[in-house]
């Protein structure tokens, strides 16, 4: 036996006398999944909740704790809401930097599902992010990826599949019949994709504006010539924003602007004076007041068709 081993042994022997003794396991300690009758899945946005509800069927309760009217991408949960997430059976994340609050809370990693984890090569980086430098770490920035991934229906299919995979692998009995349901989702998204292809193909090379930089995946999927500004539907833009828009229109003469929600009447009028028609294309990040993801997307298609048809 080596000398160092003897020394370690002596040290550990002393420590053994100090702290080693223990009582048997406490029978009151909770076990995993205790207290749950059915499965509870928490989602960070509505499209994921929608997919979870359809795939899970009656055996799964899907919770989207974001209050109505709030954008889930920028919402932050209170500690008690984080606790509710912790007690869920599965937590469905969008990935792609969506819902930054996920980085700042404690969630059980074994319950997390990153629905874009398998398609990272198809995510869109944001090039215009301002970086900053302090200390020896060099340049860095705080937001680098476009996150409204489900606006590309083919990505949405992948996200739905990753939920289906997790549910069916972990709890096959609870989601019996999931194969048919995911096939229906695929079919619905395929129809939506075809509708969007058809409606956007009419004006493929026309310049378009987005009121907010949330349409990157839509633009890529349908080859849209789209640039974005930072207009809020419920705020009238200030003079600087209008000046920026006019400068943008000079080099990118768009006749339509896609909006996340219905813009203010004054904004709509001012835009029309500039020759820009407002078109609501709701990304549907939060649960809609009426209908579901597909009906909202279908009405987006109709809005675009109507706007394109009237010009």
């Amino acid at each position: 036996m080596s000398r160092s081993r003897w020394v370690v042994s002596l040290v550990v022997s002393s420590w053994l006398l100090l702290g080693g003794c223990a009582s048997p396991d406490d029978p009151e300690r909770p076990g995993p999944g205790e207290g749950n009758d059915g499965l509870t899945v928490y989602a960070v946005n509505y499209p994921l909740a929608y997919f979870g509800e359809r795939i899970g069927g009656d055996g799964v309760e899907v919770v989207l704790p974001v209050p109505a009217g709030e954008d889930p991408a920028f919402w932050s949960p209170a500690p008690e809401q984080v606790e509710a997430f912790q007690h869920a059976d599965l937590i469905v994340l969008n990935g792609a930097g969506y819902a930054k609050w996920v980085e700042r809370v404690t969630l059980p990693t074994s319950k997390l599902v990153d629905t874009t984890g398998g398609v990272r090569d198809r995510l869109i980086g944001i090039e215009s992010t301002v970086t900053h430098t302090h200390g020896p770490e060099g340049d860095h920035s705080h937001g680098e990826t476009a996150f409204t991934t489900w606006l590309d229906p083919t990505l949405a299919v992948d996200q739905a599949w990753s939920i289906a995979f997790e549910l069916s692998t972990r709890w096959p009995a609870s989601v019996e019949g999931w194969q048919e349901r995911i096939a229906e989702i695929e079919q619905d998204l395929s129809v939506l994709d075809a509708s969007l292809q058809q409606v956007f193909s009419e004006r493929r090379d026309e310049p378009l504006l987005g009121s907010h930089p949330v349409y990157q995946y839509l633009a890529r999927r349908y080859a849209l010539n789209l640039e974005s500004v930072h207009f809020e539907p419920h705020e009238f833009p200030d003079d600087a924003a209008w000046a920026e828009l006019e400068a943008s229109l000079a080099r990118h003469p768009a006749r339509w602007m896609l909006w996340e929600g219905e813009p203010m009447a004054e904004t709509r009028t001012r835009l029309e004076e500039l020759g820009v028609t407002s078109v609501v294309f709701d990304p549907c990040g939060n649960r809609p007041d009426e209908g579901d993801l597909l009906s909202v997307m279908q009405s987006n298609v109709e809005n675009v068709r109507r706007a394109f048809g009237s010009n």
């Binding site: 036996m1 081993r5 003897w6 370690v8 042994s9 002596l10 550990v12 022997s13 420590w15 053994l16 006398l17 100090l18 702290g19 080693g20 003794c21 223990a22 009582s23 396991d25 406490d26 009151e28 300690r29 909770p30 076990g31 995993p32 932050s76 500690p79 984080v82 606790e83 912790q86 930054k100 980085e103 700042r104 809370v105 404690t106 969630l107 059980p108 990693t109 074994s110 215009s128 301002v130 970086t131 900053h132 430098t133 302090h134 770490e137 340049d139 860095h140 705080h142």
Partner: protein
């Protein structure tokens, strides 16, 4: 016979000082090896049970003992770190649940353990006061830490700098106590648990500061162009994560390159365990996979060898003490010659006088054995706690 016992008893009571010394010496010499064995057995049982409850541990190549002691008991030197990517790679194999640990920092002498919520489920740890940590910058305390620091939910603990001479080092992080764990009588009672990401913030890999793109941060800006803002040394970095500044906290670089000291690996079955061990036991691998129970068994073998020497020493001292005690009895016979002659003269038989002497010896020996037994029982119940309390004074 009763008279002989009475005489013997009166003799012992009259020479109570000498009797007490004899009883104490014999008690201690009987108790020492037995008590030591009880303590070591209890401790090794606990060591083994925690090791047995931890199927596999992955760490950087180096001392397996150091890795296991750091991972299971949050003691010993800090092992070389692994990349967090190792955790995700392990999870991706589907062969086991991976629970990362980052045991490097301390707060007032207590280990800060960065981990995920899966650790609490794995060790069956329960929060008895307050709630589980939910936000970056929160912690939950082991019961002994909470008692020693006299803090509870809503209070704060501050991470200690790794070196007082590290003037350019990271700021200590003030962490809010979210809850206190139930007493488990394991190393978990002696730890401050934080989210893995919080431990990275303590290290300075993540931080929060003023938004440098906003006008109010202009005094902290050294240079600004279209795509980059360079801060000067006056930029305000936060040393506590609150509701107001939580949004400003961010990490530099990919999390996959961030460090962990070990990964507790929980395979669902023996087959997965064997496959995993095979994958890591290659020469070119920079990581090692160890079975804590094997490492602790090797250590215990060494400890038991050391213990045998201690017990042998105690037995030798015991024999010497018994020889001394015999000498004391023999010498006392010589000193009591006149007393014995008196007993004979007043009609005491040889047997009666012998009975008095033997009774005295038996009473001393029996008292010693009973006391040693009592001490052993007390050791079994309270020994480890008493020594721990004594050492913490």
């Amino acid at each position: 016979m009763i008279q002989a016992f009475y005489l013997g008893w009166r003799y012992l009571a009259f020479h109570r000082f000498k009797t007490a010394i004899l009883v104490t010496s014999i008690t201690l010499i009987v108790f020492l090896p037995v008590g030591l064995r009880v303590l070591v057995n209890q401790s090794s049982q606990q060591l083994t049970s925690r090791a047995e409850a931890t199927p596999l541990v992955i760490g950087a190549k180096g001392s397996p003992l150091e890795l296991v002691l750091n991972t299971l008991y949050f003691r010993s030197e800090v092992p070389e770190p692994l990349d967090f990517a190792e955790v995700t790679a392990l999870e991706a194999t589907g062969l086991a649940r991976a629970i990362p640990l980052y045991v490097r920092f301390r707060s007032r002498g207590w280990s800060i353990v960065g981990t995920t919520l899966d650790y609490f489920e794995f060790r069956r740890l329960r929060v008895v006061s307050g709630r589980q940590m939910t936000m970056l910058g929160e912690c939950v305390l082991g019961s002994r830490v909470a008692d020693d620091l006299a803090v509870g939910p809503g209070d704060h603990v501050v991470s200690s700098p790794e070196s007082v001479f590290d003037l350019a080092g990271v700021y200590p992080l003030k962490m809010r106590v979210a809850g206190v764990l139930a007493h488990s009588d394991t190393a978990d009672d002696d730890a401050i648990f934080v989210d893995l990401k919080t431990s990275w913030v303590i290290q300075g890999l993540g931080h929060g500061h003023q938004d440098l793109t906003r006008p109010e941060a202009s005094s902290g800006v050294l240079r600004r162009d279209d795509t980059n803002v360079t801060a000067n040394a006056s930029v305000v970095q936060y040393t506590e994560i609150t509701e107001d500044n939580a949004d400003s906290f961010h990490f530099h670089g990919g999390l996959s390159r961030f460090p962990v000291t070990a990964v507790v690996v929980v395979p669902p079955d023996q087959k997965s365990s064997t496959i995993l061990q095979g994958r890591y036991e290659t020469v070119e691998s920079l990581t090692q996979i160890v079975r804590p129970v094997t490492v602790m068994d090797e250590l215990l073998e060494t400890i038991l060898t050391v213990q045998s020497f201690v017990v042998a020493g105690a037995v030798i001292v015991g024999l010497a003490t018994l020889a001394s005690a015999s000498l004391v009895f023999l010498l006392s016979l010589r000193l009591r010659r006149r007393e014995i002659e008196t007993l004979f003269k007043i009609g005491g038989s040889r047997a009666a006088v012998g009975t008095v002497m033997v009774f005295e010896v038996i009473v001393v020996l029996l008292t010693s054995v009973v006391l040693a037994g009592g001490l052993t029982l007390l050791t079994r119940e309270f020994g480890s706690a008493a020594i721990r309390a004594f050492m913490r004074m």
